[in-house]
Amino acid sequence: MTSSKNYKVTVYVTYKESVLDPQGQAVKGAISRMGYEGIDSVRIGKYFEIMAHPSDGTTLEETIDAICDKLLANPNMETYRYEIAEAQA
C-alpha cells in the first residue's frame, strides 16, 4: 500500500466459541418471545470503524494487528478479524 491513500478499516471482535455470552442468550430469549422461529443462537460482539493510512516503515496490517492484539480484543477470551478497504475520496 502506498502512504498517499486513505483506508477504512472495519474490525470485528467476537468472543471465542468456548466463552459463555449471557447477553447474547438474553437477546436470543427476546427473539424467541417475539415469536420468530429458527433462530438457534445469538452472540454479541464489537464493531470498530477506523480511518487510517500506512505510516512510514510499517504496513497498515501490521499496525492494525498490533492495535487489535493489545487493545481492541482481549486474546484471553476474544478473537478478531478485520477488513481494509480504500476510503472514498
Binding site: 449471557p22 482481549n74 484471553n76
Partner: protein, 225 residues
Amino acid sequence: MSPRFAVIVFPGSNCDKDLLWGIKNIAGMNAEFVRHDATDLSGFDAVLIPGGFSYGDYLRCGAIARFSPVMNEVRRFADEGKPVFGTCNGFQILCEAGLLPGALLRNTSLRFVCETAQIEVANNATRFTSKYDPDQLLRLPVAHAEGRYTVTAEELEQLKANNQIAFRYAKGHNPNGSVDDIAGVTNKAGNVLGMMPHPERAVETLLGSDDGLPFFASLIDSLAA
C-alpha cells in the same frame, strides 16, 4: 519506619479512599495516593489498585487503565517481586495488563451484584493470606457486574497445580458464574493478587465485618519478613 503503600488512583476509581482508609487509618501504615499519570513508584513497598470504573469501563473493564503511564511502573514493580494487590476493578486491570491470568466477564445473571459474599480461603500459604486459617470462611462485600472469572481448561489446571487460587466463593454462593467458584488468584510467583471481593470494606465490625483485617495483616507481615 513502617512500610509505604501506594494506592493508585485512575480516572473513575471509586474505592481508592476505602483502600487508603483501611491500610492507613485502620492498619496504621504509611500510605498515599499515586495518580495514574505518575511515572515513579520508588520508595514504595507495596502497590494497591482500587475498585471503581476506571476510564468509565470503556471497551472492557480495565482495558484502558492498562495503558496509563503508572502501569509501566506497576509492571516493573511486580517483576521485581514486590507485592501488588488489586480488588474489583483493580483485579480487572491486573488481568488486562497480563499480570494475572484470565479475564473477568459479565456476570452470568447479567445483574450487578452488591452483597456480602461468603468467601473461602483456598490457599493460606500466600503473602496475602497467611493470617487466615486454611479453608476459613469470610464475609466480604462484593459489588460488580463483570466478575465472572474465566480461564481456559488448561489454565485452570495450571492455577490449581501452582496453588494460585487464593479465594473461592463458598459452595452454592457463586455470585457471578466464575469458573471453579474462583474469587481471587495470584500470579505464579505469588506476589500479585487480584480478587473481586473487597477486603478493604471489611475492616471494622461497625460496618458489618472485619474479616478483611487479616488480609492486610498478612501483607504487612510479609513485608517485615
